[in-house]
Structure formats: C-alpha cells, structure tokens
C-alpha cells in the first residue's frame, strides 16, 4: 500500500466524537478505491486511548494540545503528515475543522476542498461533491496537487460501523505550544429552546420575510398548528428578528419535526443541515429557483406576505366549520 489517508479525529477533552466515524466511512470509501492505508490522528493531551475499528490510531500528545487552537492543531497535523506522508487528509467540517484545515493545506502546499457532501467514483477516478451558490448548484471537484485536504460535512456519510478489528494505537509525545494564541477560554451559553426542540411543527423565517414586522405573520401561521414553534435562518437571527437560540442550521439547532415550513429561506447547505430530517417540508418562496425547493415535499412559489394570510384565512374557515 503506498496510498495513505490520514483522518484527524474530532474530539472533546480526549474523547473521540461520533462525527469521527463519519470521517472514517468517507476514508473507507476513498481507501477502497486507492487501496489505501488509513490512519486516524488524535491531537490532545491524553495518556491513554482505546483503539478504534477500521484504522490505526496515532495519538499526538502535548500539554499544549489540552484545548483546541488553530495553531496547535495545525502543528499536530503537520507533525502527523510528516510521519504518515498522506495523499489525502480528511477533517470534519465543524467549527474547529474549518478553522484550521485550509491552513494545513496551504502549509503543505496541497489542494483543499471544504464542506464535501459526497464522493463519486466514475471512469476510474474520484470526484468530490460539494454545494455552492446558496445551494442552487453542486460542483464536482477533481483533485490537484497533493496532499489533498478535505473537510467533510457532518451527516454526509453514515458512520462507519463495519466490524473490523481494532487497529494499532501509537503515541507520539510532542512539544507543541501555541505562541501566537493565548488566553483561550470557552463559554457554554444557554442556548436551550425547549419549545423549538419539542415542537412537532416548525415555522421558520428567512431573509425573504424582509422585515421584523412580518414575524407576526410567522407567529400567526404557527398558531394554526398544535405543538408548534417558530425558528429562523442565520440571516433572520443576524438581523435581530429572532434570538440565536431559534437559529436552525449547521451552527445552530438541528430539528426534525413532523412538519417544517420554510418561509422566505433560500436553502443553502448550511440551513439544510439543520432541518433535513424533518418528516414533511413545505417551502414558500417567491424565487422559483430557490434551492430550498429541492429539499421540499410541497413547494409554493408565492410572496409570503400574500400567501400566509391566505393560508391563515383557510385554516380559520376550517376551524369555524365554514367549509
């Protein structure tokens, strides 16, 4: 085997997080094609780690890696790359992954493809799929200079669950100290939103509602349903229309209600990542090309300022038994 794939584990205080097994599934897919060796790298400060199935594990230990810094992770990745000489490096597209992955690619003078959602094998070659243009288009990338660093969208690959024998565990003690980064600390803010987390029906507002006043329409529509809650896209929260604890998406909440109604939401992959497991999706948007329609069961090409009042009237008619 002279083709080598290196994945970098997503971890929290030395504990390997589940998304790592999605990276492993992606690596297994690519590795099956190139017949690659697969090594998982765990940066941290953990003296003792269990082996994982499907890959060898290289633990890079240093007191300076006790918590995440782009600088520390970059140094750990470069150290591991020097050791493993990977052709491909796979990193999770999370708030840590996208913070340092492009730096690693630049420092190794390799190529980089971020937020990969799929791998396509055809004509004896591999293509990497990712979404762009507000989710309207998908792009197929061909690798260039090696190593190729990819970040993989959480949820894009089902977690690796093959009953492979545990791989070997190797420890490397390093002296990695961030020199440009200091005073790192974290806040675990209370972002709970019980109503939204337990709602069976979610009515979500996007940029297309245009102004804060139109949130009243969203609330009135939500009132047509039992166990409903309102939510918003990133833009709706950035504009101050809704609190961030109501944001659905990659960096916000992941919801999976019986019914999700997207009002004036364009449907970028960042938003879709937060609601794609909803049972039924209805979208209201005046742009017939909006990407959200590709992810909807029922599509309504309408101005929501006109459509929502019409829907509320319809619901009232039924409630009052006028139909």
């Amino acid at each position: 085997m002279d083709h080598s794939i290196m994945i970098i584990c997503e971890q929290s205080e030395g504990r390997i997080l589940p998304v790592t097994y999605e990276l492993l599934a992606c690596a297994a897919r690519i590795g099956g094609f190139y017949n690659s060796s697969i090594t998982a790298v765990l940066p941290g400060n953990t003296p003792d780690t269990d082996a994982i199935s499907g890959a060898d594990l290289l633990v890079i230990n240093s007191p300076g890696l006790a918590e995440y810094t782009a600088e520390g992770w970059e140094k750990a990745a470069l150290l591991a790359a020097g050791e493993l000489k990977p052709n491909i490096i796979i990193i999770a597209h999370t708030s840590t992954g996208y913070d340092y992955a492009p730096r690693v690619a630049a420092l190794l003078d390799g190529s980089c493809i971020t937020s990969v959602s799929g791998i396509e094998l055809s004509d004896g070659s591999i293509r990497y799929r990712r979404s762009g243009f507000h989710g309207k288009l998908d792009m197929l990338y061909k690798e260039g200079k090696q190593p190729l660093v990819i970040t993989v969208l959480p949820g894009a690959f089902p977690a690796y669950d093959q009953q492979a024998a545990p791989g070997m565990v190797r420890y490397m003690n390093a002296d990695i100290q961030p020199v440009h980064t200091s005073n790192v600390h974290f806040s675990i803010s209370d972002q709970s939103n019980t109503e939204l987390e337990h709602a069976e029906v979610v009515i979500a507002a996007g940029k297309g509602i245009g102004k804060a006043e139109n949130l009243e329409l969203i609330r009135e529509m939500a009132a047509c349903f039992n166990r409903s809650a309102i939510a918003g896209s990133r833009v709706a929260c950035d504009n101050g229309w809704l609190e961030y604890n109501a944001q659905v998406g990659l960096t916000g909440k992941k919801v999976s209600p019986q019914l999700y109604v997207a009002c004036g939401i364009s449907g970028s992959m960042q938003h879709i990542a937060g609601m794609k497991d909803s049972k039924t999706v209805v979208s209201i948007n005046r742009d017939p090309d909006a990407a959200i329609f590709k992810n909807s069961d029922i599509c309504i090409i309408e101005d929501l300022e006109k459509f929502i009042p019409a829907f509320i009237r319809e619901a009232e008619k039924h409630r009052e038994g006028r139909v």
Binding site: A70, E71, S95, Y98, D99, P102, R103, A106, S111, C112, I113, T114, S115, G132, F133, H134, G135, K136, L137, D138, M139, L140, Y141, K142, E143, G144, K145, V179, H180, T181, S182, N183, V184, H185, F186, S187, S189, Q191, R234, C237, Q247, L250, T251, G252, Q258, L259, S268, M269, T280, V282, D289, K294, N295, D297, I298, C299, I300, F307, A310, F311
Partner: protein, 258 residues
C-alpha cells in the same frame, strides 16, 4: 495601524444561474447584478469601527477579478476605506483559493499590515479558505467565524470571539499581525455617506497584474457544475393564491398535520 480587508465581488443571490456544460462552469445571466460578498461587507464595517477607536488607522481594500470588480472596491471606499487595490484576473472560471491566497500573500509582502480582515466565506463558492490560507502563507495566526473583535495596540494583540457549533463561543487573544474571517452577525454594515461617496469618486484604484507563474499551479479544479440534486419529491402547488392556500391545508390535513 494598517488594516487590509480582502473582499470578493459576487452575483446577487437572486440572479439566475445557467450551467454551461461546455465550460464546466456556472454562468450568470447577462443582466446579473454584482455586489460585495455580504460577509466581506461586515469585514469592511469591522475595519471602520476599529478606525473610529484608533484614529490614524489606514484601511486598504484588495480584490481579485475582472474589470467589474472595481465597482465593489469603489463601494468599500464609499463606506470609508482609504485605498483600493485591484488584482486583475480576467477569466470568469474557477480560481483555486490556494492560488488566490498566494496572490494576496504576495501582495501583502512589504506592506506591513497589522490586521487582515475578510468574510468567513463567499456567497457563491462558500469555501471559506482564501483568508485562512493567506494567513498561513504569511505565517500569522487566524480565526474563522469571528463574532467580535477588538484591537489592543499596547499589548499588540487582537481579542476575538469565535462562533462554535450550537451557539457556543470561544474567546482568545491572537498576536498581531493576525487575520480574522468574520461572521455576518458581527455588526451592521453602514451605508456610504455623501462625503465619502464624493471622496471615493476622485480616488484612484491601483491596478496590479497577477503573477502568471502563480496562476499556473495545479491545485484542485471544478470539473463539473450541476443542478443540485433533489432529495424530496417536490410537489409545486398551482393556481391562485387562495387555491394554493386551500390545497396546502388539504394536503396537511390528509397527513394529519393540521
């Protein structure tokens, strides 16, 4: 203090996109309107707010692209930036962030910027790479998805708050010079003032041609652009607004959702 803001010009989100299978690239309708990438506009605003606190700060703007890009640079100067630099790249095709970051890093050498700001990603490619790669090539620290930043000149550091998953935050100090890729929630970009619009009119935007040897590097390429796949069997409702409203109620009722 010297600040550089890296911006990109992108087509308006609602412009129609056409896929040209010959060119393996997405084209925009001829009447497409172009705008500053929304995230980069927040980066410009962040720079202006720093200058308000630290008078004497100089703000430069740089952007890569064909002639149309000048309008976006001009707009930043109307918002209040001091100088604009246009790195001419004539083609409307995929240009790898690896190459862009090499061009910008090359541009930065000998210009001694204390701080480089950019948006967390572009609205069209959404890669989020160019800024961070530029920082890596310059050997300076960076932070992505920044929701708050403050400069401490005495300590020569940049205090940043990064957005993490599920609403959590990370706080840290980066030694200057540093790069921050800002998230859209960081501020509200201002509208140009009349005096700045007048001043921007008479300010020259410097043109710089790109180093051809950098453009030839063989990084990843986009081979094909296609319509996003459909994950659900989308049923588009037809008729008048009232008819669609009635049809939606009926469909939801059949599924016991209302």
């Amino acid at each position: 203090m010297r600040i550089l803001v890296c911006i990109k010009q992108v087509p308006d989100q609602e412009s129609r996109i056409t896929v040209d299978p010959e060119k393996a690239w997405a084209g925009y309708a001829e009447n497409a309107s172009y705008w500053i990438n929304r995230y980069d506009e927040h980066a410009v605003e962040a720079a202006l707010q720093i200058r308000e606190k630290l008078p004497g700060t100089m703000i430069d703007i740089v952007s890569i692209g064909p002639a149309r890009v000048k309008a976006a640079i001009r707009r930043c100067m109307e918002m209040g930036a001091d100088q604009g630099f246009h790195l001419r790249y004539e083609h409307e095709d995929y240009l790898s962030p690896s190459i862009k970051s090499r061009l910008i890093a090359e541009f930065c050498r000998d210009r001694d910027y204390d701080l480089i700001l950019t948006g967390v990603m572009s609205e069209d490619m959404m890669s989020g790479q160019t800024g961070l790669m530029t920082a890596a090539r310059l050997g300076i620290p960076s932070a992505a998805s920044v929701m708050k930043l403050e400069v401490d000149l005495e300590k020569q550091c940049l205090y940043v708050e990064r957005e993490l998953d599920a609403g959590h935050r990370c706080f840290m100090e980066l030694k200057l010079p540093a790069l921050a890729a800002v998230q859209s929630g960081i501020n509200r970009p201002r509208y140009p003032s009349l005096s700045n619009v007048m001043r921007a009119k008479s300010t020259e935007i410097a043109e710089i041609s790109c180093d051809d040897s950098l453009l030839d590097a063989k990084y990843e390429t986009v081979e094909k652009v296609l319509e996003a796949g459909s994950d659900r069997a989308g049923l588009t409702l037809q008729g008048s607004t009232a008819e669609k409203a009635a049809a939606l109620w009926q469909l939801l009722h059949e599924r016991s959702l209302i």
